[in-house]
Amino acid sequence: MKRTLASLLLVLVLGAVLVFGVRQITPAPEALRNHFFRRGVEQTGSVNLVSSIYLGYRAFDTLGETVVLFLAVAGVMALQAGKQ
């Protein structure tokens, strides 16, 4: 019972801190968003702005993602090869 009360108190305090923090957040910066929105299509030629960001402006990030997948495949195949 004591433990439950203590956990409940902890959750409430943490929740209050979180709500306070969220309310303090300033509005999201608009400059970059407006830049992508206005110039994205003419700079990358891609109508889908998500695509233009993740393959145009941040293609290096996507390269990292493919490396992660490559390593996952290599790891699974290496584990299976070691089992035989």
Partner: protein
């Protein structure tokens, strides 16, 4: 591993359409929601359905392990080559060096289109390879 006639027939009729939808997602990644990763995952889902309904051994006859792993590595190498070509032409690593074309058409957006194709191939074969390896273990 033939347990149900229904599963067998429905999955075999469904798989070509799933693969086609994956190709559509990949090739229209710069126009509509979707792209290389999502389309590749759909391709892998089609191959997984084939694996689960027909068994890994039969699926490996249509999608040989060696060729899949070769095409995955080749796609990854091609992504790196495309990036280095941009570097050589003075646009920076993974910079767009192809003409942009008319926005809204299928071969447009310069190298985003080709990068989508390569990533789709790489993700599709990669996830299928993982599933082949894990499912073959169980048989």
């Amino acid at each position: 591993m033939k347990e149900s006639e229904l599963v067998d027939i429905v999955s075999r009729k469904l798989v070509p359409f799933i693969l086609l939808f994956g190709c559509y997602l990949i090739s229209h990644g710069h126009l509509s929601p979707g792209g290389g990763f999502q389309g590749g995952a759909v391709l892998a889902a089609g191959i997984t359905l084939l694996c689960l309904s027909r068994g890994v051994k039969d699926t490996l006859r249509s999608f040989p392990m060696r060729r899949m792993s070769l095409s995955e590595s080749a796609a990854f190498l091609m992504i790196l080559v495309v990036g280095v070509i941009g570097l050589v032409l003075g646009r920076g690593f993974l910079g767009n060096f192809l003409p942009l074309g008319t926005p809204g058409e299928v071969p447009s957006a310069g190298f985003i289109f080709f990068l989508n194709l390569l990533i789709g191939l790489k993700v599709g074969t990669g996830i299928s390879l993982v599933l082949f390896t894990l499912l073959r273990e169980e048989e």
